[in-house]
């Protein structure tokens, strides 16, 4: 059997497995029929569900809430996660390092139901003890999302720093820079790519989280995935397809743009290095 034939078959099957569900959702978002599974040949394709979305206040409100939650959670996670990442990568062996390292990565594999439940219990207990956070709403969702997204940031930052020689920071100190200057002029610029990708990662994880939000959300705070989830329980309506298609589009655009940019950057770097080597021969 031909190897090329085999790998092509694998590619087709793999892609189909991953993207047929999304493709069918996209197709049905242009369906005129109210019944999701019946294709209305006469009046499709149509954009009417997209137009309907624009006037659907609960969905717009939920989307706005989700954006604010995801942005705040990602920002909080970046601050805490970066600190943890730097400590793990740079502070050498200290008492409790192994524990911190294990505890940082544990939330990555913790079942979300357990994370959500324990956070809810914590918030309730805290409210009874110190009166904060008062009730459950956007604040509790943000706090909950920070706790389980900062692990991702920490891991990304730590691995980026591990790729750089510690002597860079030592050289800066040797040249007379104080620790604060070393951090802002050397360490931080080096890990900016990791911080950006950590922020994006935290944003997308927070953006599509249902389980944890479900536990810690209050009556007035419904995020977009929670709206979709509750709508689907009452039966899938085509406007959900349209909404989901938009979400996929936004994420896909983001990925394409960032990967194109990264590709261009690495190409440029490679070319410059080769020029430098060529100029020396």
């Amino acid at each position: 059997m031909n190897r090329g034939y085999f790998s092509r078959t694998g590619l087709v099957i793999g892609l189909a497995f991953l993207y047929l569900p999304i493709l069918s959702m996209v197709v049905f978002s242009f369906n005129n029929s109210r019944l999701v599974t019946v294709w209305d040949v006469a009046h499709s394709p149509t954009l009417k569900w997209y137009v309907a979305l624009l006037s659907n206040q609960p969905i717009l409100r939920a989307a706005w809430l989700s954006i604010r939650v995801a942005a705040s959670a990602a920002t909080g996670a970046v601050v805490l996660g970066t600190l943890v990442g730097i400590v793990l990568a740079r502070f050498g062996p200290f008492r409790g390092r192994t524990l911190l390292s294990a505890m940082t990565t544990a939330p990555l594999v913790m079942p979300e139901v357990i994370t959500g439940l324990s956070l809810l219990l914590l918030f309730v207990a805290l409210e009874q003890l110190i009166g904060w956070p008062r009730g459950r709403g956007m604040l509790t969702i943000i706090l909950a999302h920070i706790t389980f997204t900062m692990s991702y940031v920490a891991v990304v930052v730590q691995s980026r720093l591990a790729g750089f020689d510690e002597s860079l920071e030592e050289a800066a100190m040797d040249l007379g820079a104080r620790p604060v200057t070393v951090f802002f002029r050397i360490t931080l610029p080096l890990i900016v790519p990791a911080i950006v990708s950590g922020w994006l990662l935290a944003f997308t994880i927070s953006w599509d989280d249902v389980v944890v939000s479900q536990f810690v959300a209050g009556p007035a705070s419904t995020t977009l995935p929670m709206v979709i989830f509750s709508k689907v329980r009452l039966g899938v309506s085509p406007d959900v397809n349209a909404l989901a298609t938009l979400m996929v589009l936004i994420v896909a655009l983001g990925i394409v743009i960032s990967s194109l940019w990264m590709h261009a950057m690495s190409k440029r770097r490679e070319r410059e290095s080769q020029l430098a080597i060529a100029a020396n021969q």
């Binding site: 100190m173 040249l175 050397i186 080096l190």
Partner: protein, 363 residues
Amino acid sequence: MPDAYVRIEGVTKTFGGAPAVDNVSLDVQRGEIFCLLGGSGSGKTTLLRMLAGFETPTSGRLYIDGQDMTGIAPCERPVNMMFQSYALFPHMSVEKNVAFGLEQEKLARAEISERVVQILDIVKMGAFIGRKPHQLSGGQRQRVALARALVKRPKLLLLDEPLGALDRKLREHTQFELLAIQKRLGVTFIVVTHDQGEAMTLASRIGVMNHGQIVQIGTPLDIYEYPQTKFVADFVGSVNLFDGRLVEDEADHVRIRSEELGAVVYVDHGITSAPDVSVSVAIRPEKIGIDRTRPAGSENVAHGRVKEIAYMGDTSIYIVELDAGKLVRVTLPNVVRRAEDRLTAEESVYLSWHASSPVVLTR
């Protein structure tokens, strides 16, 4: 010596109980190039890092220009270091890299750029001022790292394997440039290296390190011609070591009988040792001559058979198996281009050496 520029006094550094540097005391004079020579794990880099302030001594004290360095942070020491990896900041241009240290001193912009240009001219990197480190070759990075360390006008420059990452041709060239720059700026250098050739050409004095201790300090000539221990004799250059017994110990000469060598070694200088003690005789490969016929005299001659010949271009290395089975290394220059009667393998030969050549080692 009160005027020692760098004074290391009984410094010990242990990592988890094991000493990396073991009770080292050392004085380095102003304007000197001092080389710490040793294998990996000999503690030479740890000693250098303690001078820079990245490690604190477990015990002992360090003085630079008379000032006690205990408790002084790396950023406040009058010392700069050139790292083995060069540690150039990848996100800054050559100019920014070199200017970084001066910016920390809060100097005026005009003065900073003037001094940056000046030092980059000295290391011949003026044309590359706008490049980023990844746009430079290894040799160019080395020069930028040197410029960055020198631009602060340190009293003392620490160099960690300064030529380690360069290829052989570039190494020789850079060695001489480094010497010229050092002479011109008058900075005291402490160089760490595992390469004895590098230490020989750069250093005014060498300290050979082993297991965290300095085993011998001396000029390159002292270290090579008068090693005090078997370790130094073997580590610096190559050497033939023979075990033997002291049979005659006079003030102006000694005789040593060596079964391994199958001969009596006559040494034309006295040694300080008790008679009838077991010693080692060290003879450098280039100090041994080869003849087909037996040379005059009964001492300092050994018989053997040529086992292998390695032609190196400028010299040839002959491995000779002595009658007692010991292998001896002999290096001879290839003086004549076409020698018809060049030695061949399996030939029977006599090895001989001058009475001043052997070094007697008791440790």
